[in-house]
């Protein structure tokens, strides 16, 4: 074979590989560049970057917006922490519904929709997850990122062989060095995820936030599904909220944060700040390992025949019916109602920390869907439109 033909063959192969690379990474590039739009409620006091509380994350992909709603009336303060694990989409969705609809008449409410912003900018390896999901609204629809569980390796790499949690020195899985809900309370000189945890802890300390509600989703094969997980100082409030919700709206369990399980918000925020630390879980088939194709439809409806088989055999920790599934409005509605109830209980137990707040209820979500509570950025006042 002549040198010229050989060169042409290799150039062709190289070109083909580059074309394959560009085409094959279209979704990856789109996800990393996509910005979500949020139309904030009229009561927004300010939007500040998280780095305002700790400059060690400024200029990184972990610097995420914090939305502050201050009634101006003395009372308590609450932080709603959405998106610590972006592949649990009802979490940031709940935060967005709050940001777009909240009314605060006493105390202050802080909302972070994308606590681990970097993780929301990459897909999950190996699970063939869709990069985006679309919520239908009366005026069209809004698209949101699904994302991963851990901080992107583009921001934090390499992983250690074993992640040693600070300050407990407990050994954890290597990938937990990039897991925001394993790195609390964080440290200023740690890795990027630890520094982000530290920034959130600093915000809680400086703003004297009375209650932190970390919003998650759980697989139905995980015992902690449909549960409040609460630091022992918040136990009584969680038990009351759990009883009220289970009696009036939907099944909700509660359990105390184990003292030997380190790095979680419900443990470390309770130990290292004065805030009552609460974590909430909803039933999310999309993140279970034994479901069918992990499609956008599964994420939105939660309907899956394999999950039904598991339910029939008594393998799940939550009620499940594949005809009704576990749709997004159910999961977001649960979080909205769960947060509202636990905030109400804080006011009952500690009147000085009372926060009077309202947002769409569980019944509202079940009747009208999530999209009914998202506003059209095209028609909104430009001052109320933010990008996340």
């Amino acid at each position: 074979m002549s040198a010229r033909i050989l060169l042409a063959r290799r150039l062709t192969l190289l070109l083909a590989s580059l074309v394959l690379m560009v085409v094959g990474t279209k979704d990856i590039r789109a996800l990393r560049a996509y910005q979500e739009t949020v139309v904030v409620a009229e009561g927004l006091t300010k939007q500040v970057p998280l780095s305002m509380y700790f400059a060690g994350i400024a200029g990184t992909m972990m610097d995420t917006p914090v939305y502050v709603f201050d009634s101006g009336v003395p009372g308590g303060s609450v932080l709603i922490l959405g998106g610590a694990h972006p592949y649990e989409p009802a979490s940031p969705m709940m935060a967005y519904v709050v940001i777009e609809n909240v009314k605060v008449t006493r105390g202050r409410v802080f909302v972070i929709a994308r606590a681990n912003r970097s993780a929301s900018l990459q897909g999950m390896l190996g699970n063939a997850y869709p990069p985006f999901f679309r919520v239908t609204t009366p005026w069209g629809g809004k698209t949101y990122r699904i994302g991963d569980r851990e901080t992107s390796p583009l921001e934090q790499w390499p992983d250690p062989f074993t992640f040693v949690h600070y300050p407990s020195t407990q050994n954890q899985a290597y990938q937990d060095s990039r897991n925001l809900n394993r790195t609390f309370p964080g440290r200023p000189g740690g890795n990027l995820t630890e520094r982000t945890s530290f920034a959130i802890s600093e915000m809680i300390r400086r703003e004297k936030i009375d209650m932190t509600i970390d919003v998650h989703e759980a697989s139905l094969g995980y015992p902690v599904v449909s549960t409040f997980v609460c630091h022992q100082r918040a136990d009584d409030m969680c038990m009351m909220a759990s009883m009220v919700l289970s009696a009036e709206q939907f099944p909700m369990k509660t359990e105390t944060s184990p003292t030997s399980l380190r790095g979680f918000t419900h443990r470390e925020i309770g130990d290292f700040t004065d805030s009552f630390a609460v974590l909430m879980e909803t039933p999310e088939p999309f993140i279970d390992k034994f479901v069918g194709p992990m499609t956008e439809a599964l994420m939105l409806t939660g309907k899956d025949e394999f999950m039904q088989t598991a339910a029939d055999r008594g393998l799940l920790y939550a009620d499940y019916n594949s005809k009704t599934g576990s749709p997004l409005e159910y999961r977001v509605g649960r979080h909205l109602a769960g947060a509202a109830e636990i905030i109400k209980q804080m006011g009952e137990f500690f009147p000085a920390k009372k926060v009077e707040v309202s947002w769409p209820t569980y019944a509202d979500l079940m009747a009208r869907g999530v999209g009914a509570f998202l506003h059209d950025p095209q028609k909104a006042d430009a001052k109320r439109v933010f990008l996340n």
Partner: protein, 57 residues
């Protein structure tokens, strides 16, 4: 500590770029294994290193 982490982190990107260049060179200039199958492997194996060096994946 943060500076050291950043140096190690950036070193990985540089290593990816160096390996991509190395593979590219070997695709066009190598004396052994000149067959089509090896050309395909060299051309294809470059992809993940370019993606990492360009901060895409």
């Amino acid at each position: 500590m943060i500076l050291l982490q950043e140096i190690i982190h950036q070193t990985y990107f540089m290593m990816s770029a160096i390996i991509a260049v190395l593979l590219l060179t070997r695709l066009f200039r190598r004396k052994t294994r000149p067959g089509l199958a090896y050309d395909i492997v060299y051309a294809y194996a470059i992809i993940p290193f370019i993606l990492r060096a360009l901060h895409i994946k």
